[in-house]
Amino acid sequence: MGAERHECIGIIGLGAMGLAVASRMVSCRLSVVGCDIDASRVRLAADLGVTIAEHPQHVAHLASRIICFVDTGPQVEDVLMGPAGLRTELGRGDCVLCMSTVDLPVIEVCSRAIGEAGAYFLDALVSGAPAAAAAGKLAIYVGGEPAGFQAAEVIWKSLAASAYHAGPVGAGFAMKMINNILFHVSSVAIIEALILGAKAGLEPDVMAKALTGGSGDSVALKVRGSRMLSGDFAGIPMRVAYRELLMETDFGRKHKSPLLLASVAEQVYAMGMARGLGEEDGAALVKVYEDLVSVSLSVTSWT
């Protein structure tokens, strides 16, 4: 391979988002080193031209700037500080980015551990689907030291339509919560509004057209509404959105800031989870209302 450590970008966790990030970086002609516990994901990454490492420690041996994109808080802690964790390979000026949406205490623990090793830790939370990652069009919210934000510039340039330095460690997480509250509340609002319209005799595609560009419009309508009309529910699993909603309402409690709407939205998502929709895209929440109200938003069902 031959690329110097300081030129390499490491990616730990090659799931839907991690792999999309890797493919974008390869297409930007960056040298990428990756690892995943799932051999099938590793093969997909190797096919893209990603150098495969055995474990996180090995990734940090080969790369100085490392993205962690695993699922849960315990996984993040294991990747950074576990037996084969990357911490022991870090040197001064290296950079570790946590892109997983994990809870604040995890971010704080990891930030301390990486800081003690002399490297920068950034909570760099992303907004956007795998398609946006693969196209380099993510929004990225970053918390951490300004020098760390600068050290990771090549990453923002390849992945983001916009990257915001939101403040110290934890601010990237806070910004992501604020954005998600808006998206998740809007998503439930869209379902209730479109279902009511359909029940009152309006055609879903007429509503979608009438709402687009007007005061009732939103990114959520574009992203979720189109899935509701087409019945395409293969996207980001609802369990992911539900877990994020729990973090959002926790965040409100932590700061003693009332979140009437997000709390109700959380309960609506709980109905979707109870109905067994956890593996379908969040847009599938519409099925709860469709069943209750006995109408369908699916355009193919309209004659």
């Binding site: 915001y164 403040g167 954005n179 609002a189 209730e192 319209g197 509503m207 959520a220 003693k256």
Partner: protein, 304 residues
Amino acid sequence: MTNQRNQTVGFIGLGAMGGPMAANLLKKGHRLVVYDLDSKKNAHFAAQGAEVAEGPADVSRQAHIVFTMVDTTEQSQDVIVCAGGIVDGAETGDAVVCMSTIDPAAIVRMNGTLAAKGIGIIDAPVAGMIKGAVEGTLRTFVGGDAATLDLCRPVMASMCSEILHIGAHGQGMTMKLINNMLYKINSIAAIEAMVLGVKAGLDPKMMLDAIGNSTGNSPAFQYRARRMIERNFEGVRLDISYKDLVLETALGRTYQVPLFLSNVCLQIFEMGRAAGLGSRDATSLVQIYEQITGVKVGKEPKGQ
């Protein structure tokens, strides 16, 4: 005289929205007859070259097409179908365009009354707020028959840049209520999100930029967040938005559709009315959250 009547447009209700909409009719060269309960507003239009009528029936005696832009369902029924209303002065073949956002069922009822006399009515509530009214760039959702819409369309085009025919009588109103429901829920979400962000130490201007590029964005967020930061609480009266919320939640009950979020929104607007914010823009609801949480989104301008 008859020919002049065919060329004359009537406008009833010259408030924050109706005023600039009627002004655009004058600007585009229509012969205009107006009426408002407030004689000052009438005098303003008389000075601009409009005829001032003695009441709704007198407007329709002089005009072939009459627009109404009053506050409530009751007021709309008063000026259109009650004694002394448009119905008393109108002739067969005339048309009424109801542009206020009101109960869809009221449109269906009024159409019954008017159709018996050969008078057409369409519901054409508008979106685009005061800015759109001033600039003549409103969007309108139309319910009713295509023939009446075709008759009115050339005049409506002086006020609206987009005219969407949604469906039968009342369905323009239903579409508007659905749109407004999303707008208001997104507005309250914007308030809660901005207050939480500020409480957690984020800079409000940074949030406006960061969300503007992301999945949390909406026209409601852009409008509300900007105004919260600028402390600009003048605009559409909260009481008017509250009236729409009452109609929206009632529509949910009519069709037995659960509306968790709209009903919570209604309660938040209720808090605003209780706090005396009824004649401010709904963005002022942020003050309730600020009072409760002890933070402020944006700074008060000097001298306040």
